[in-house]
Amino acid sequence: MKELKLMKGNEAIAEAAIRAGADAYFGYPITPQSEVLEYLMAERPHERTGMIVLQAESEIAAINMVYGGAACGRKVMTSSSSPGISLKQEGLSYIAGSELPCLVVNVVRGGPGLGTIQPAQSDYFQAVKGGGHGDYRLIVLAPASVQEMADFVDLGFELAFRYRNPAMILTDGALGQMMEKVWLKEPKPRMTEYPEWATTGKTPDRERNIITSLELDSGRQEKFNLKLQAKYREMEEKEVRYETIECEDAEYLLVAYGTSARICQKSVQVARENGIKVGLLRPMTLFPFPKKILREMAPKLKGILSVEMSTGQMVEDVMLAVNGLVEVEHYGRMGGIIPAPDEIVSVLEEKFIKQNYYG
């Protein structure tokens, strides 16, 4: 049954996983996302749907449990926060290299190192450029509300299975911890039939299934790399998701995702009250990145400000997308600090408008 609840983002992810018909979750505690595992353990999903939940000995073990489960064609997932996600990179590379579907949630905190437990968006590069070794990409979804935290679980699994590729929900400690209303979907039953490539035991009617990322022949490895690239191009073609707010007459554009996008939405309002025509582009998929729409909008704009809780990572993708057609600047706060709406407006004025008055 569809249900309206007040929940933390992390809890919404956990509940959505049960309702998405997930077969297993493997995780290791780390702030600010431990509620995912805690909620799942408290809910006894094994009794509700038969879903398996296991606290692993490390993030490395957890991602490799995900690998084993995914290789059986099951809907499996893990969640962690930045330091733990770093530990998962080898496993993610194997999962991508073996073309397996799975869902990974990164509730980002500030770094580098142990950093801070406060929210940040400083794992953007790691998430969208591959993260581990070898040429591969994750499908990266960026929720901006507790509702989207829940919705993207189902979407993440769907895309992961469609492309046989790991998907990641890239969110942050603010969205993980904040409470909002959330409509929870009608529960889906768990799968009863598994993809034909799954290692479920070799029956006489088929060849044995082998899940591996090893290819000792250079020619065949290169062919496989090209096959992966074709898959990523198809994602860029078909799976780009974004939201535009007040962009029709915009002279300036803010580009922001997740928590930053929520703040920027307010900045748009403040700026417009001050007579500046500002719009917001909010990528909902970070890979594939909404390059096309940015390129289309670029000639009509006087400037783009990429707003991120990092020293400037997504800004590089914005620049690549517009390829010099319009000036692109970055504004970021670090260390767990979330920028304020009027702070962003003053930066926009500072970087583009004042300069135009005097220059």
Binding site: D23, A24, F26, I52, L54, A56, E57, S58, I60, A61, A62, N64, M65, V66, Y67, G68, G69, A71, C72, R74, V76, E90, G91, Y94, S98, T199, T200, G201, K202, T203, P204, R208, N209, I210, I211, T212, S213, L214
Partner: protein
């Protein structure tokens, strides 16, 4: 009488004493001549065939010489990252509790990089089987020191012999995991003589059969040679193994039916 001695009468099913297991594929094994991996593969294949569990078995290969084991066994297999096979197997067995699940790992894979996964899978009492090939060396990467390299043994990264003062002691991980409440059967075997092969096969069968009891993890260590890595002829390698490796890693059962055997 003369009639009976014709070739076609001798080559008959009635007189068959040995045949290649139907679980072994026709692919030519890449192992060095004299290496124990091939024999261990064969025994696992024979047990799967005899128990008639091909459709119920999922194997996890390591990173190490046995990485390509999936080319030789006609069963569904997954290839793990170095050391992580017990994590994969944990998920596979929990998601499909009625299947037979095994990992096959070298000493570097199981007792160095994968120590945490090994110990925790054993301690949780996961109902799968670990086959642990201990050749005291990193075979695949060209003969470097392993966690199980015995004192004074030479390798490419202990060229003057393992100096335990400097490089630390060999790890008897099999004795270690036998202490954990989650292990049900822990045994050390070898495959270098006909007798050893027979005993090893019995152990492999018992380890598989234990899975249906759901009483915990079974680990079968197979002390094996690595004549290439040890820089010895195969026969010499086996002799050296008996005289040196067996001192440190004595073959025999360590824990049976959940009880540690007193030595």
């Amino acid at each position: 009488m003369a009639e009976n001695l014709k070739t076609e009468n001798i080559i008959s099913t009635r007189n068959l004493v040995y045949k290649k297991s139907s679980i072994l594929t026709d692919n030519v094994m890449h192992y060095c001549p004299g290496c124990g991996h091939g024999t261990a593969h064969r025994l696992i294949a024979e047990v799967i065939e005899e128990m008639d569990i091909q459709a119920e078995t999922i194997g996890i290969t390591p990173v190490g010489c046995a990485v390509l084991m999936y080319n030789y066994l006609d069963i569904d297999m997954q290839e793990a990252a170095h050391g992580r096979a017990p994590a994969l197997a944990t998920a596979v067995k929990r998601l499909m509790p009625d299947k037979y699940v095994f990992t096959y790992q070298g000493d570097g894979d199981l007792a160095a990089i994968g120590t945490a996964e090994t110990i925790h899978a054993c301690n949780r009492g996961e109902d799968f089987t670990i086959f642990f090939i201990n050749n005291g060396i990193y075979g695949m990467t060209g003969g470097q020191m392993a966690p199980t390299t015995i004192p004074n043994m030479k390798s490419s990264t202990s060229p003057y012999g393992r100096d335990v003062e400097m490089m630390g002691n060999p790890l008897k991980i099999t004795e270690l995991v036998a202490q954990l409440p989650g292990t049900y059967y822990v045994t050390r075997q070898a495959v270098h003589t006909a007798g050893a092969v027979r005993r090893a096969k019995k152990a492999i069968r018992k380890a598989f059969e234990n899975q249906s009891l759901k009483k915990g993890l079974s680990l079968v260590e197979i002390v094996s040679n690595c004549n290439s890595g040890w820089k010895m002829e195969p026969v010499e390698a086996n002799r050296w193994m008996e005289e040196n490796m067996f001192q440190y890693y004595p073959p025999g059962d360590i824990k049976v039916d959940g009880k540690i055997l007193s030595t």
